[in-house]
């Protein structure tokens, strides 16, 4: 087993869709995509955003661009115009996901 920082193997972008945040994570290469595909499960992402994402997590694969897209429901304090959050549109949540460290098989 070894520990990998997601920030070292992937980039991404996040934004708002109503009260849900969309977090797109893109691997820099095929090997990185295999890692995020295997280890970035719905459950793992939901656990990571504990206290931020108060709803379900949807997970979608875009193997063509080596990306995963997550929809974090009930996350933005009521959505862009209602939210009292400083980051009302979830713009910094892609970086927040890239904080994650994953333990992978060698």
């Amino acid at each position: 087993m070894k520990k990998i920082k997601l920030l070292d193997i992937a980039h991404g972008r996040s934004g708002d869709k109503g009260d849900a945040a969309n977090v797109g994570i893109i691997a820099y290469d095929d090997k990185g995509y295999q890692i995020i595909k295997k280890y970035l499960t719905k459950e793992k992402v939901k656990e990571h955003f504990n206290g931020i994402c108060l709803g379900e997590v949807d997970r979608f694969e875009l193997p063509n661009i080596r990306a995963l897209n997550f929809l974090l429901h009930n996350t933005l304090g009521g959505g862009g115009t209602v939210s009292l959050k400083h980051d009302a549109q979830g713009k910094t949540l892609a970086a927040a996901l890239l904080r994650m460290e994953v333990e992978i098989d060698d």
Binding site: H11, G24, R66, G78, L84
Partner: protein
């Protein structure tokens, strides 16, 4: 038929770089300039402006911009497509006509796309059996009907195509999808069949890449952000479209920024849901079919896009008034910056309680510590924190409580923890909260109309 057309993105939102559209039409060859001005909250602001003054209700940057670019666009035959007409495309067109007259421009055709504004027709829509249920909660619109501020249908590319067929030099629309602005010139120039969903999806994907301006050409780039050259002089993206549906995303070579697989991929995943079903009024694009290839410096080819037929519905974006909010901030310095800010928050909340203020929500964040990543923020040894900004926000229906909140922030300077500053802007004022109500409407209940103004 042209063998290719170049479509330049000029604005990613109302408030984007003022000079970008001018730069796009002067730093190299383009055939079309497309500008997206409308965010969800924008429509309600524009509707309020129009209620106060029937000559307003559109993106007011447009006349000033046209003053700079109209003579250039007319001379070089660059067509302009924008949704900046907001809730009053007619008044926007009048303002543009005035600019054209000032420059003595003749033979100008301005097309308006109208019919998207259904605020006055809600009862009619409901009596036709469409309850405009909230797409997120399922509730019928009747529960907020009395508080509605705006209600607009998102049209797609087809009304713009019709306008271009009628010879329009400028197309000004109300609520139109961002993607439709870019797709329309491809359909018009290449004669794409409205049932060829792969081609429509290719143009839609191009529109998605262009719709946030510089975000596809080096702005907000998480991948190696330091690598973006001359970002101060960023060139907004350009879609070079070919009749077979291949698109090359590029930018003017003399400008800064960069176009790469990374810049395009980040924009592709921005604000999407299910990537297999990217729904627009024109088609349902499959983002998992898209292939990207770097074919030159600052040139990324987008190809192999697949799609499916459009749905029977238009999306409707409604906004309604939902109480008030206010935000106050104060900055605490080392030593003990975070502890001081936390103590100030505690004092505030006790005072709110004593005053019996009524809020639906109070939210406290510590900028410089946890306002972005909340509980994911790393704990920092307090001695290493130089300063923290306390940010308290409140929301509720009781105007007086929200107003009183604004009067409780400044007193903390003399009646709370020390080493505090940053209260310069005066008391925070209550702002009206505009909530958003997304719904669907059967396409047969609304009819887009194209109106021509000829000069």
């Amino acid at each position: 038929m042209k063998d290719k057309i170049r479509i330049a993105s000029g604005q990613g939102f109302w408030g984007d770089l003022i000079d970008a559209p001018y730069t796009q039409v002067t730093a190299g060859q383009v055939d079309y300039l497309v500008m997206d001005y409308l965010a969800e909250v924008t429509m309600s602001i524009l509707q309020k402006q129009k209620n106060k003054n029937p000559k307003l209700g559109y993106a007011r940057d447009i006349p000033e911009l046209m003053d700079r670019i109209l003579p250039i666009c007319k001379k070089n035959n660059i067509k302009i497509i924008t949704n900046g007409g907001g809730v009053n495309p007619e008044a926007c067109a009048e303002a543009v006509v005035e600019v054209a007259r000032k420059h003595n421009i003749k033979n100008l055709k301005i097309a308006l796309v109208v019919g998207d504004n259904i605020l006055d027709k809600i009862d009619n829509v409901i009596s036709n059996g469409c309850l405009l249920n909230n797409m997120e909660t399922g509730e019928p619109i009747t529960i907020v009907k009395d508080k509605l501020l705006s209600a607009n249908v998102y049209f797609g590319a087809m009304p713009i195509v019709e306008a271009l067929k009628q010879g329009a030099d400028i197309v000004i629309t109300g609520r139109t999808t961002d993607t439709g602005l870019t797709l329309a010139p491809m359909i018009y120039e290449f004669g794409w069949d409205k049932n060829d969903y792969n081609l429509l999806s290719a143009g839609t994907v191009a529109g998605h890449i262009l719709e946030c301006g510089g975000q596809a050409s080096g702005g907000n780039l998480l991948a190696d952000w330091r690598s973006v050259p001359d970002i101060d002089n960023i060139g907004f993206p350009i879609a070079e479209a070919y009749p077979n549906g291949e698109i090359i995303i590029t930018k003017h070579e003399s400008l800064g920024g960069k176009v790469s697989i990374e810049t395009v991929s980040e924009q592709l995943v921005y604000e999407i849901g299910d990537p297999k079903n990217y729904i627009t009024p024109d088609c349902v694009a499959d983002f998992t079919s898209i292939k990207l290839e770097e074919v030159g410096k600052n040139r990324v080819k987008v190809f192999n896009v697949k799609g499916a037929p459009e749905t029977e519905f238009y999306k409707v974006s409604c906004s309604y008034s939902s109480g008030y909010s206010a935000v106050g901030t104060l900055t605490y310095s080392w030593p003990d910056a975070l502890s001081k800010a936390k103590k100030a928050d505690e004092i505030l909340r006790k005072r709110f309680e004593k005053l019996n203020l009524k809020f639906d929500e109070i939210r406290t964040e510590y900028v410089g510590y946890n306002s972005c990543h909340g509980p994911l923020s790393e704990n920092i040894d307090e001695d290493k924190i130089n300063e923290v900004m306390l940010r308290v926000a409140v929301r509720g229906n009781d105007y007086n409580s929200i107003e009183r909140f604004g009067k409780e922030i400044a007193p903390l300077i003399l009646t709370g923890p020390p080493s505090v500053t940053g209260f310069a802007g005066g008391r925070p004022k209550p702002a009206e909260v505009v909530a958003y109500w997304p719904a669907l409407i059967p396409k047969k209940l609304v009819e887009p109309k194209v109106v021509m103004v000829t000069l």
